[in-house]
């Protein structure tokens, strides 16, 4: 658990206790309402988590390395952005992985595209986002994020 998660836990537990002391009924009523919201999401979330396991098995990091290392920068950047959108690997795995590519002399443009779409564009979480916020919201946010991930990547290429 990183320190922010821990901090959040401590903060919430303190707030929760004072909430119970102040008004027990109000607190539990609110929890009942929120768990209604959660109940609708939890099946989807569990599905997503198991789907991620499948994706990681069939698209292992080696495959990602292959696509990031293509010689044509434009093609490899677009492909990297796509690979980043569909995979969801934890950041602490992603950074050492791409760090080793950079050290091996890979171009940073596709790598930045990959890193940015990895977190900002959610292909697997899309159904959930769509259900919670509507198709228009989910589509707009994900498409814009994809586009800007590619733009950021090329700007990084110029700056660095």
């Amino acid at each position: 658990m990183d320190f922010i998660t821990l901090g959040l836990w401590i903060f919430i537990v303190i707030w929760f206790m004072s909430s119970i002391i102040k008004d027990k009924n109000k607190t539990f009523n609110a929890i009942k309402m929120s768990s209604g919201l959660m109940r609708n999401m939890i099946g989807e979330i569990i599905g997503i988590l198991f789907l991620i396991g499948l994706i990681l098995t069939f698209i292992p990091p080696d495959t990602i390395k292959y696509y990031l290392g293509q010689s044509n920068t434009i093609v490899s950047t677009i492909v990297a952005a796509f690979v980043g959108s569909i995979t969801l690997i934890p950041a602490f795995v992603a950074f050492p992985l791409v760090g080793s590519f950079v050290n091996a002399g890979a171009s940073i443009i596709p790598i930045v595209a990959f890193l940015t779409t990895l977190t900002m564009v959610g292909f697997v979480t899309f159904p959930l986002e769509k259900r919670e916020f509507g198709v228009k919201f989910a589509l707009t946010r994900n498409i814009l994020s994809f586009g800007f991930a590619v733009i950021i990547a090329f700007l990084m290429g110029v700056i660095m």
Partner: protein, 241 residues
Amino acid sequence: MISIIKKIKNNMFLTLVFIVYVFLIIFIPEKALQSLNNSLYYIKEMLIIMPVILLLTSLIEAWVPKKTIENALGEKSGVKGILFSFLLGSFSAGPIYAAFPVCKTLLKKGANVLNIVIILSAWAVIKVPMLTNESKFLGPKFMAVRWGLTTIAILIIALISSKIVKKEEIPVKESIEKEEAVLNVNNKFCIGCGLCIKVSSKHFIMEDKKVKVNKRILKAREDEGIRYVIDKCPAKAIEYI
């Protein structure tokens, strides 16, 4: 039997993933095992974060007044709201799906689309522990430049999104669609007029000048009377949760 079919229908996606796993276990068991192993990390992450998110959304629901959220993140929050959203997103914990219920609660309490997109995106990309990690493996300059560009990009994305998507287009009460949603009278809003009792006395009772639902009623068993009182309640206090 019917309830099982309903459960499957409500969880189509989960069922689909489950079928793929069953397939793998039969035909390529080692791949199934590997996939399960890969998922384990994410399951653990979820178990660590979701209880906090549940409590957080409940506590916001109970104690933070609508006015406060409206001022901090609503239509007139301006630059202050944008800054606040960036901070909120950056100092959050957990993957992007953990942000969904929190953002939904904030939306319900009056936050605008612009700030919600900022919170969601910042929650996904700009995490303080992640930045230190990035700096360690890719260098501080790489991290700083990418962070700067990403922050600007998020702002532009949020501005464009808020022009395209209107707040009314975001479904706020989607649990109404669910068959297992429970009928409830929100006693914060109920003014005790008794209209619902007059129309449908078998479902509602008066208690301390507020109306309560007298037993658990599922959406699946909704009748004409209930539909009528939900529509006609002057305080709009009757709803499924």
